[in-house]
C-alpha cells in the first residue's frame, strides 16, 4: 500500500495538543518520541565532551585543561554516554515506539508504568546534571576506595544512576509482559519479528542485572555517607568486592546495548535484500544465548585486579563462549545477502556499516579475552578502541540504521537520501580514523584516562583527534537531515520500504490506537521472494 496520506489525517502526533497531552500521555509512541528527543540531546552533550577530551589530547601536556578538568570530562563523557544514551536509547526510545506495532498490539502491557518510567528517567538525568556543580572524576567505573573517599559528588551521581536504572528495570518488565501477553492472534513465538526477540533478551538482562548495580551503588552510598565498611580494607572490607558487583551488572549491560541493535539489523536486512532472513531460529536463540552467557563472564574485566588464579582462568574460558552466538548472527546476516536483490538506501548502508565495524570490534575481543595478551592490553587505548568499535560501531550504527528505517513511520516524512549518504561517509571515515589507530596506540603502551602522555604517542593522538572532527561533522549533517526533513521531507507512504512486519500496515505516522482492527497473523514476517510452497 503506497497511497499518499492526506496531511490532515488524524495520527498520534496531531490528535491532541498541548504540553500536558504529552507529559501525561499513555501512548507508547509519544513516550518513545519523548525518550528519543531527551536521549539524543544528551548524546550530543556526551559527544561534545568526547570532542573536548580529544582536543586536550592533541598535545602531550595540559595545554587546554588541567588534570582535574580532564578527569571530570572523560568521566562525564562515559557516564552520559553509557547510562543516559547507549543503554536506554534503542529499547526505551525506538523500542517503545515500535514494539506494540511490531506485535500487533495497541500499546504496551502497562502504559501508566511506561510514562512513570519516562519521568523516573528524566529525574535521574536531572540529578546527574545537578552533580555537575561539583563534577566527579572517578571514571564511569567508580572503583573503590577512590570513589568512596573522593570529595566530589559521587553520592549524587550514584543516586542519578540508581534512578535511571530503575527506569530501565521498569521498561524491561513492561516489555517482557507485553511480549508474552499482547501478541496479535496467530503471532506465535516463531513468528515474532527478530527485533522483538532481541528486545526480549535485552529485557531479561535489564530485569535481572540492573538491580545488582542498584544495590552496589547503595552500598557505595552507605560507605560514603554512613561509614559502612564493605569496600574499605581498614574495616575488613574488600575493594575487589565492589568490582565484582559492579561488573556483574556492567558486563551484561553491554549486551543490553548490543542486542536491540542486532535486532534492528535483523529487521533491515531481509527488507533491503528482499530475501527471508537466513537462520531465523539461530538468530532468535542466539539472542537468548548471548544474554545467558553474558552473565557468566564479568571477571574478564578483572584479570589483573588481583583475583585468584582459578577465577581468572575460568572467566577467560567462559568469555570465549559469548563469541559463538555472536558469530552465528554475523554469518546469518551475511548469508541473507547471498543472491539477494540489495537496496543500498540509508537504512541498509548503516546496517552494513554496523556489521563491518562490529566485526572489527568483535575480532579484537579475543585479544582481551586471552589471558596472556590481556595483561598487556588492559586499561590501555586498545580497550578504548575495542569498546568504541563494539558500542559505537555497533549499537550506535544500529541506532542510526533504525532511525533511518523508522523515520518515515515516526514522522510521516522521508529523509533526504543524498544528505543521509553524505553524513554516512563522514561518519564512516571519521569513526575509523579516530578509533582504528587506537589499537596500535594501546599495543604500544598508551594507558587510558591519561590527561598527559609521553611525546612518542603524540602523532597517533593527533590522527585520532582529527578523526573525531570528521566524525562530528558527519553526525551534525545527519542531525541536520533529521531536523530538516521533519518539516520539509517528502511525505511518507505507509510502507516506503515494502516491509512485511506489522508496523508497515499502519499509516505513516500511525493513529493513536495503532490499528483499526487488531490484525490476525498467518505467516512469519520474512516471506520475501518466490516461495516453492505458497501457504504459511
Amino acid at each position: 500500500m503506497s497511497r499518499q496520506q492526506p496531511s490532515i489525517e488524524k495520527n498520534y502526533l496531531n490528535e491532541t495538543h498541548g504540553f500536558w497531552s504529552w507529559a501525561y500521555t499513555l501512548d507508547h509512541k509519544r513516550i518513545g518520541v519523548m525518550y528519543l528527543l531527551t536521549i539524543l540531546f544528551f548524546f550530543l552533550v556526551g559527544g561534545v565532551l568526547g570532542l573536548l577530551v580529544r582536543l586536550e589530547l592533541l598535545e602531550p601536556t595540559n595545554w587546554l585543561v588541567s588534570n582535574q578538568t580532564y578527569n571530570e570530562m572523560f568521566t562525564l563523557h562515559g557516564v552520559i554516554m553509557i547510562f543516559i544514551f547507549v543503554i536506554p536509547v534503542i529499547p526505551s526510545a525506538l523500542g517503545n515506539f515500535v514494539i506494540p506495532l511490531l506485535i500487533g498490539a495497541r500499546d504496551v502491557a502497562f502504559p501508566r508504568l511506561n510514562i512513570a518510567s519516562y519521568w523516573i528517567f528524566v529525574s535521574g538525568v536531572i540529578v546527574l546534571m545537578v552533580s555537575m556543580v561539583h563534577p566527579i572524576d572517578t571514571g564511569w567505573t567508580f572503583y573503590t576506595p577512590y570513589s568512596a573517599k573522593t570529595a566530589t559528588s559521587v553520592t549524587i551521581v550514584a543516586l542519578g544512576i540508581f534512578l535511571v536504572g530503575m527506569s530501565s528495570i521498569l521498561t524491561g518488565l513492561n516489555f517482557i509482559v507485553t511480549i508474552h501477553k499482547l501478541r496479535a492472534p496467530g503471532m506465535s513465538w516463531h513468528r515474532l519479528p527478530l527485533f522483538i526477540w532481541g528486545i526480549y533478551a535485552t529485557s531479561i538482562i535489564n530485569v535481572l542485572a540492573t538491580p545488582v548495580v542498584g544495590v552496589t551503588f547503595l552500598m557505595l552510598l552507605s560507605e560514603r555517607l554512613l561509614g559502612f565498611g564493605f569496600f574499605d580494607p581498614s574495616k575488613g572490607g574488600d575493594p575487589l568486592l565492589f568490582q565484582h558487583f559492579f561488573w556483574f551488572y556492567s558486563h551484561p549491560v553491554v549486551y543490553v546495548m548490543i542486542l536491540p541493535a542486532m535486532g534492528i539489523i535483523s529487521e533491515i536486512i531481509p527488507v533491503f535484500t528482499r530475501k527471508p532472513i537466513f537462520g531465523y531460529k539461530a538468530i532468535a536463540y542466539s539472542s537468548l544465548a548471548i544474554a545467558g552467557a553474558g552473565f557468566l563472564v564479568w571477571g574478564h574485566h578483572m584479570f589483573v585486579a588481583g583475583m585468584s588464579s582459578i577465577a581468572t582462568i575460568i572467566f577467560s574460558f567462559l568469555t570465549f563462549s559469548v563469541a559463538i552466538p555472536t558469530g552465528v548472527k554475523v554469518f546469518n546476516w551475511i548469508a541473507t545477502m547471498y543472491r539477494g536483490s540489495i537496496n543500498l538506501d540509508s537504512p541498509m548502508i548503516y546496517a552494513l556499516t554496523f556489521i563491518f565495524l562490529f566485526i572489527i570490534g568483535g575480532l579484537t575481543g579475543p585479544f582481551l579475552g586471552s589471558l596472556a595478551t590481556d595483561v598487556h592490553l588492559h586499561e590501555t587505548y586498545f580497550l578504548v578502541a575495542h569498546f568504541h568499535y563494539t558500542i559505537m560501531g555497533g549499537t550506535v550504527m544500529g541506532l542510526f540504521a533504525g532511525l533511518h528505517y523508522w523515520f518515515p513511520k515516526i514522522t510521516g516524512r522521508m529523509l533526504d537520501e543524498k544528505t543521509a549518504k553524505r553524513a554516512w561517509a563522514f561518519i564512516l571515515v571519521g569513526f575509523n580514523v579516530t578509533f582504528f589507530n587506537m589499537f596500535i596506540l594501546g599495543f604500544r603502551g598508551m594507558p587510558r584516562r591519561y590527561a598527559t602522555y609521553p611525546e612518542k604517542f603524540q602523532s597517533q593522538h593527533i590522527i585520532s583527534t582529527v578523526g573525531s572532527w570528521i566524525l562530528a561533522a558527519g553526525i551534525l549533517i545527519m542531525f541536520y537531515n533529521f531536523i530538516r526533513c521533519i518539516y520539509k521531507g517528502e511525505k511518507a507512504p505507509a510502507n516506503p520500504w515494502r516491509g512485511l512486519t506489522l508496523e508497515w500496515t499502519t499509516p505513516s505516522p500511525p493513529p493513536t490506537e495503532n490499528f483499526k482492527e487488531i490484525p490476525v497473523v498467518t505467516d512469519w514476517p520474512y516471506s520475501y521472494g518466490k516461495r516453492k510452497d505458497a501457504d504459511g
Binding site: R183, G229, V520
Partner: protein, 200 residues
C-alpha cells in the same frame, strides 16, 4: 473460528487479560527484588566466610527475642493478607477490609520493633561503621524495612480503594498483586532472621 476468537482474546483488550498481565508483571518485578537482595546476601556470604569469628561474636549482640517476635508478626501478616484475598474472591468486602487493616497493624509493629532494636544498638555504640557484621546487619534489615514501608503504602492504597468499592468478586487483581509482593517481603525476612540472628 473458535481458534480465532480464542486467539483474539489473547490480545487482552479488556480486564480479562489484565490479571494475566499483572501476575507476570509482579513476578518479573520480584525477580528484580531477588537480585537486589541477592547482592547483599552474596556480600554477607563472602564476609561471613572470611571473618567467621567476628560474625560469630557479633551476632550474639542481636536481640533474638525481638527478631523472633518480628518473624512471627510477619508470618501472621502474610496469613492475614492471604485470608483477605480469599475473602474478596468470595465477595466478602468487609473481611478484606479487616484483613488489610490487621496486616497494616502487624507491619507497623514490625517496624516499631525494628526501631526499638536499632535504638538499642545505637545506644550500645553498635553502629554501621563499627564492623562489617553490623554494616551488613543495618544494610540488609534497613533495605528490608524500606520494602516493608513500600508494602505498607501499597496495602494502604488497597484499603482506600476497597473503601471506594473498587474491588469485587470479579475484580481484585491489585489486591492479589499486593499480596504476592507482601509474601515476598515476608520471605526475605524469613531468610534474614536465621542468617543474621541465629547462625553462630
Amino acid at each position: 473460528m473458535a481458534e480465532y476468537s480464542e486467539k483474539k482474546a489473547m490480545a487482552s483488550e479488556g480486564t480479562a487479560g489484565a490479571f494475566e498481565k499483572a501476575k507476570l508483571g509482579i513476578w518479573a518485578f520480584l525477580a528484580t527484588e531477588l537480585m537486589l537482595f541477592g547482592g547483599l546476601f552474596t556480600a554477607y556470604t563472602v564476609y561471613r566466610i572470611r571473618y567467621q569469628a567476628l560474625f560469630h561474636e557479633q551476632h550474639l549482640h542481636l536481640n533474638r527475642t525481638f527478631g523472633a517476635v518480628n518473624t512471627v508478626i510477619l508470618i501472621c501478616s502474610s496469613l492475614s493478607v492471604a485470608i483477605g484475598i480469599a475473602a474478596i474472591k468470595a465477595g466478602k468486602l468487609a473481611v478484606l477490609k479487616l484483613c488489610l487493616a490487621i496486616t497494616l497493624g502487624l507491619a507497623s509493629s514490625f517496624l516499631f520493633i525494628k526501631y526499638l532494636e536499632y535504638s538499642e544498638h545505637i545506644g550500645n555504640g553498635e553502629l554501621p561503621s563499627s564492623n562489617l557484621f553490623f554494616s551488613l546487619y543495618y544494610m540488609m534489615t534497613g533495605l528490608h524495612a524500606i520494602h516493608v514501608l513500600a508494602g505498607m503504602a501499597a496495602l494502604t492504597t488497597m484499603l482506600l480503594l476497597t473503601n471506594r468499592g473498587a474491588f469485587s468478586k470479579e475484580y481484585s487483581t491489585p489486591v492479589e498483586i499486593t499480596g504476592i509482593y507482601w509474601h515476598f517481603v515476608d520471605l526475605v525476612w524469613i531468610y534474614l532472621f536465621p542468617l543474621l540472628y541465629l547462625i553462630g
